[in-house]
Amino acid sequence: MTLISTQQQTILDVDQLCWHVQSRVILDNISCSINKGSFTGVLGPNGAGKSTLLRCFYRYMKPTSGVVRYIGDDIQTLSPTEYAKQVAVVLQHTPQDFQLKVADVVALGLTPHKSWLSRLDANDHAAVQAAMTQVGVSDKQADNFETLSGGEKQRVMIARAIVQKPQVLIMDEPTSHLDVKYQIQIMELAKSLGITVIASFHDLNLAASMCDNILLLKGGKLVASGSPKSVITEHQLSKVFDVCTKVSEHPQHSAPLVTYYYGYVAGADHEE
């Protein structure tokens, strides 16, 4: 009984969220809820509002109207450090040239847990080491962050998020610019953490095989949400992405598998 209720527990609840910049509407009345422990993918074409939606989730942007609730509390009412202990974020880009060692970057994840004067103790160092081992960068810990490859950098950022001990991990296009191996590796790593993950994707097949739940955005509106099977359909993809596709079953896990057709005029009728 309790098991079922925790599985169904809503961790993030979005209620009529709008975000405007001057008169332009970037997010238009979005309502959805994200279950605890689920893996949610945010999909949509460029400019659909994916990043803005995630930014509202991690409080980098304040909604023009509407509320985001974390386990019932409006996130704007929580203190920044309290919220940072619950929600960790991995972004697509990090600034260059800050001359930090890999271990230093990972240790920054402890920031919300540390008061002004406290030093890192043995437990903290152990946590940093464990996180680096978990993502497979412990042999690089004394290297400069800049010298790492794109995939390694993202793994370091995930290690930093692990050290933050969050309940929710938000990732904004963490796999763009990475080659296929790392795209799969990063997402499987995130899934293996066993916490709630919300990530935006460009690769529909990767999203289909990783996510339990998908939010499909277009023009700032939530077009569809639900399981990959219910959202990733030929009809929706044609409507939202303006592409012609065939959706079949993946031979390994029967998640939707998208095959694209080429040479079709956008918006024209098509046969399968």
């Binding site: 930014r55 980098y60 940072a84 202990k85 001359q99 920054l108 994840g109």
Partner: protein
């Protein structure tokens, strides 16, 4: 692993401390009237019985306050540069780039040309008011928080810097030649005006800044990852940046007020220290401040002995060393890129 790093840090601190003691001893003994280390030692610790009053007055009344001011000014300028470089993530940021120094100059020049007051406490107030004016204008123009806060601040800083320089030049143009000479001398920087009565001001400000930065070191390091990442670590980025900006302007103002314009130190010292101590270290603030102080002690020694019977302004030496430093940095990087 961590023990090793701590051990390294201890060795490093000991070496730094020895260099500091040697530098101070040199600063007290080198000058127009050379003293031996043992004379300086005896005078400082009051060991000599037949203490001739002239040695003790050279050490205590002239060289000690001057060297302390040089050290504190070096600490403060290096710290101000480090703060600005950290909060803007721009390795070229320093008090000059933000118009803080030119604001201070404007304050001094305005006061000198309007009231024709000589050197003294009033000028410090003028410098202080000028640099605070610069920071307030900077915050009004570019202080509102947004995705481009850093870029806006840098642009506004450069613009303000030119604006203040224009006003300063205009006032100099209208002033009488005698005032122009003394203003000119002031803007080149000197520690000759050091005395025990005013020394506490920069010392207090630098100490407060060191403590404040030490308390916020984790947040400052996190800021290096970018505003967005820092926000997700629970940091109020905008408030931290504005506090730090105010702090560095306070540092600059209190030092410029007493010593005049001293360029390149804020830019150069953090660069040098970064070769030895990573940005992630808890001690990088202290090391930067110490290295800045030691550097300034030697610049002051140089200013006293390079020309016979005459003092070379500090600003000339720091700018010369600074430009050579950056040119060699460029050359070394080019060589490294070719290898």
């Amino acid at each position: 692993m961590k023990n090793n790093a701590t051990k390294q840090m201890v060795y490093f601190s000991v070496i730094l401390l020895l260099i500091l003691i040697f530098s101070f001893a040199s600063a007290l003994s080198i000058g127009a009237a050379p003293l031996s280390f043992s004379q300086v030692f005896d005078s400082v610790f009051g060991l000599s019985n037949d203490q001739s009053s002239y040695i003790s007055s050279i050490v205590w009344d002239l060289r000690m306050p001057r060297s302390l001011l040089a050290f504190v000014a070096g600490c403060g300028l290096a710290l101000a540069g480090l703060i600005l470089q950290k909060v803007t993530r721009n390795p070229l940021a320093d008090p000059y780039l933000f118009g803080i120094s030119s604001g201070a100059s404007l304050g001094v020049v305005a006061l000198m040309s309007v009231t024709s007051l000589g050197f003294g406490f009033y000028l410090s107030i003028g410098a202080f008011v000028g640099s605070l004016l610069a920071v307030v204008m900077l915050l009004v123009i570019a202080g509102h928080y947004g995705p481009r806060q850093v870029e806006n601040m840098l642009l506004a800083g450069v613009a303000l810097s030119f604006l203040f320089s224009a006003f300063t030049s205009l006032m100099l143009y209208w002033s009488d030649p005698q005032a122009v000479t003394s203003i000119m001398f002031w803007t080149l920087g000197s520690f000759a005006r050091a005395d025990w009565q005013t020394l506490w001001i920069p010392t207090t400000v630098v100490s407060i800044c060191l403590v404040f930065m030490f308390l916020h070191q984790r947040q400052l390091t996190a800021l290096l990852l970018g505003d967005e990442s820092a926000t997700t670590l629970g940091i109020n980025v905008s408030r931290l940046r504005i506090n730090m900006l105010l702090l560095s302007s306070l540092l600059t103002a209190s030092i410029v007020a007493l010593c005049g314009g001293i360029g390149f130190v804020g830019l150069m010292i953090p660069h040098i220290v970064r070769y030895f101590v990573t940005n992630g270290s808890r001690f990088s603030f202290f090391v930067t401040a110490f290295v800045g102080g030691i550097f300034m002690l030697w610049v002051d020694i140089g200013s006293r002995i390079i020309l016979t019977n005459q003092e070379l302004p500090i600003g000339i030496i720091t700018s010369a060393i600074g430009s050579v430093f950056f040119l060699s940095l460029l050359y070394l990087r080019k060589r490294k890129a070719l290898d």
